[in-house]
Symmetry: C2
Subunit: 393 residues, 2 copies
C-alpha cells in the first residue's frame, strides 16, 4: 500500500479542478427563460440558418454510397488537400496538406491542442474577454490560465501588448488569441500579430489562434490571421471550424493547421481523443470548402446589415455604449450602472422576454457588458431590440 | 520572471508525455502493406458492412428538416430517453435518462471520462491485453496506467482478481475493464464483476467499463455488464458506442451511463471537450436503438458463423493455440515460437498478403499473439485463412 493518497476529489468523486469548473452563465440565463414561451433569444453564438442544401446533399449521398467507416486520424486526404488549397488561397501563403489535421469540431481542436501542449506546472496566457471554453480547456489540463483583458478604449477595443507580454514567464506554454473576437468583435491588426509572433519566437512560446470567425470580417474580405505571417515551423496552432462560415454548428467538424513537426504528434493524439471526424461529414466539408464561396459572401452581407441595424439601435438607447464590431456576429455593449450582468440578463429574459448573454460569462473583464448575437433575421432582431429599448427606459 | 521553468518539452515542442505515446503497431503493419495491392486485411476492429439504410435515411431526413444546429451538451432529450429505455431493457434494471450523456464517439467518452477522473499523482489499473487507447488516455492525463494481464489458461482467458486488487493502492483512481474484450474475446462473468464492484465500493475506486462489445456475445443474448449489478450511485462509468452494434464506426456516436451526481459534471465537461454530438447523427441514433434489434440479431448470427470458421481453421494450423472467443469479433491466437509479433505481422503482410494485428499492440501481455478480426464475408475470411495457413507451414 502506498503511503501517499490520490489527489483530493470533489463531492461527485471527480477531480477537484473539474468539479470547480464554472458552468456557463449563458446557459444559466437560458435556463431562466426556458419555460417562458415568447422569448426572443440572441444569447447563443450560432447562425440562425440551417446548413445549405448543397452541403446536406453531399453528406446524404456519401452515406448512401457507404462512406460510413472510420477514416484516417488526420482526416480524409481529399478533405485535407481541399483545406490546404483553401487556407493557401485565403491567406495568400502556401500551406501544405501535411500541416492539416481534421477534428470533430473546433471545440475538439481546442481541447486537443491543450491536451498536447499544456500540463500541470504550465501557464497559458489568454486574451479576454473571451469565449470561456478557451480558458476552461487550460484549467482542465491542470495548467493555469492567465487572462489579459482587452481595453474598452475610446477608439475601440484595444489589446495592450505590454500587459500581454508581462503576463508571460518561463512557465508560459502558450498564448491564446481569438480574432475576430467572441464576444467583442475586435479584430487584431497585422502589426499586433507580428509583435506577438516575434515575442513568442524569442521565448519559445506557442501561439494558439482561434480563427473560427476569420471569414466574418466587415472591413476586409478575410480577417488578418497568423496564417499570413507564420513560417511553417513557427510554433503556431490555428483553430478552424466549419460551424460559423458554412452554418454547420450541428455537424461537429473543424481542423487544425500545425507546424509539420507537430502534426504527427497531434494526429496520434486524435486517435485517443475522438479517433476521427465522421466520414460523410468530411465529404460534405469538401463540398463546403470548394463550392461554398457564394454562400459565405451572402452570409457576410446579411450579417453586415444585421450588425448595422443592431449597432444603430443600441447606440440610441440610454446607458448603452458600444464599438461597432469589425468581425464575428456579436455586439458587446456596455450598460452604464450595471454591475451584475448575470442578474441583469436573467431579469431581461423574465421581464422583457429578450435573451442576451451576460458579459461576466466571458471572464471578469466582461462584467458590465452584454453580448447580443446578431445572426438573425431583421424583423426578429428589430423586435428584440425594441424589447431591450423598453427595458432600458 | 518566475524562477522555475515549464515542464520539459519533446522535440516537436509538445508535452513529453504526449510525444512519448507510442504510435499504433497495427497502423505500422497496415502501413507496411499499404502499397501492396492484393492484401486481405483483418487488422482493424471494424464491421465490414456499411451502416444499414434505415439509419442513413433517418440522418438524411433530419438534415433536410434542418436539424443542423448545436444540441444540448448531454445530447438530445429524445435520444437520451431512448438510450435509457434501451439500457433498462437490455440489462433488466431501470436506468434513468438523467444518467445518460451522449458523446461524439465511444473514444470521446473514454477520453472525457479520464479527463474528468484522472490526473497526475493518480494511477489507473487496466486489465490487459487491451485496446491501447484505454491505456493511452490515462497517460495523456499524466496519470500512471497499471496493466494487469489476463491469463491464457487451459480453460480460456482468465482474470486473476487477486492480482487486480493487489495492483490498486491509495492513489488508484479507477479500474478499467473491457468485456467482451478486444482483443481476447474474453467475457467477464457476473461473479467477477460482483467481486470487483465490492472491492471498488470498499476502496472508493471508480470502475470504467468499456461495454462497446456488449451486444456481440455468443453464449447469451447480451454480455454481463456492471449495468446489471451497480446501484445508480455506485462509482461506475459505462462506455458505449453505436459503432459495433449498428455498424456506425464512421458516425462518431457514443454514450456514457453515469451516477446521477457525476452526470452534470461530465455534461459540463462535454461543453469543453467537443460540445455535443452531431444533431442529425443523434436522430439517426434514436432510430438505430428503437428499430435496430433485427439488424443486431442478424449481425451476431453472421459473426457467429465467421467466428466458428476462423477458429476451426486456425486450430488446425501448426503452432497455433487459441480459445474460442465468447464475445466481440476477434480471435486472439498464440503462435508458438513467435516472439516479435510486430515483425511477424509485417512479414505476413509482405510475404503472404494477409493483414493481421500484432499482439504487442495490446500491451506486453499480448506479445506472442496475433489478432484477427472476423467481421468479414466468409469467402474473404476463407481465403485469408488459407494464406495464413500456407505461411505457417
Amino acid at each position: 500500500m502506498a503511503t501517499t493518497t490520490a489527489p483530493a476529489q470533489g463531492p461527485a468523486g471527480a477531480r477537484q479542478a473539474v468539479e470547480r469548473l464554472p458552468g456557463s452563465k449563458i446557459r444559466e440565463v437560458a435556463n431562466a427563460g426556458m419555460d417562458l414561451g415568447d422569448v426572443l433569444a440572441f444569447w447563443f453564438g450560432e447562425p440562425d440558418l440551417p446548413t445549405p442544401e448543397f452541403i446536406c446533399r453531399a453528406a446524404a449521398e456519401a452515406m448512401a454510397a457507404g462512406h460510413t467507416f472510420y477514416t484516417a486520424n488526420r482526416g480524409l486526404p481529399e478533405l485535407r488537400e481541399a483545406l490546404a488549397r483553401y487556407m493557401s488561397r485565403l491567406h495568400g501563403r502556401a500551406i501544405g496538406e501535411e500541416r492539416i489535421v481534421v477534428t470533430a469540431s473546433g471545440m475538439a481542436a481546442v481541447n486537443l491542442a491543450q491536451q498536447v501542449l499544456a500540463e500541470a506546472g504550465d501557464n497559458v496566457v489568454v486574451q479576454g474577454p473571451i469565449w470561456p471554453n478557451l480558458v476552461a480547456t487550460v484549467a482542465l489540463m491542470g495548467a493555469e490560465p492567465r487572462l489579459v483583458p482587452l481595453q474598452f478604449a475610446n477608439q475601440g477595443w484595444r489589446l495592450d501588448l505590454d500587459r500581454l507580454f508581462a503576463a508571460c514567464d518561463a512557465r508560459t506554454r502558450a498564448i491564446v488569441v481569438n480574432s475576430p473576437s467572441n464576444p467583442t468583435g475586435w479584430v487584431m491588426r497585422p502589426e499586433e500579430q507580428r509583435a506577438i509572433l516575434d515575442f513568442a519566437r524569442k521565448r519559445g512560446i506557442w501561439i494558439i489562434a482561434d480563427d473560427v470567425y476569420v471569414r466574418l470580417c466587415y472591413s476586409r474580405p478575410v480577417a488578418p490571421s497568423f496564417a499570413e505571417l507564420a513560417e511553417p515551423d513557427d510554433r503556431v496552432v490555428l483553430i478552424n471550424s466549419f460551424s460559423k462560415s458554412w452554418c454547420m454548428t450541428g455537424w461537429r467538424l473543424g481542423w487544425l493547421t500545425l507546424p509539420p513537426k507537430l502534426a504527427p504528434v497531434v494526429e496520434r493524439t486524435v486517435e485517443f481523443h475522438h479517433s476521427c471526424a465522421a466520414d460523410f461529414s468530411q465529404r460534405a466539408g469538401i463540398v463546403a470548402v470548394e463550392q461554398g464561396e457564394p454562400f459565405v459572401a451572402d452570409l457576410v452581407a446579411r450579417y453586415r446589415v444585421a450588425r448595422d441595424l443592431a449597432c444603430e439601435r443600441l447606440a440610441a438607447m440610454p446607458r448603452v455604449r458600444l464599438h461597432v464590431p469589425d468581425g464575428a456576429f456579436y455586439v458587446f455593449f456596455q450598460v452604464a450602472g450595471m454591475t451584475d450582468s448575470l442578474y441583469f440578463c436573467k431579469r431581461l429574459v423574465r421581464e422583457a422576454r429578450v435573451g442576451l448573454a451576460p458579459g461576466a460569462a466571458f471572464g471578469p473583464a466582461g462584467e458590465g457588458f452584454i453580448r447580443l448575437c446578431f445572426a438573425s433575421t431583421l424583423p426578429r432582431l428589430d423586435e428584440g431590440l425594441a424589447r431591450l429599448a423598453r427595458a432600458l427606459q
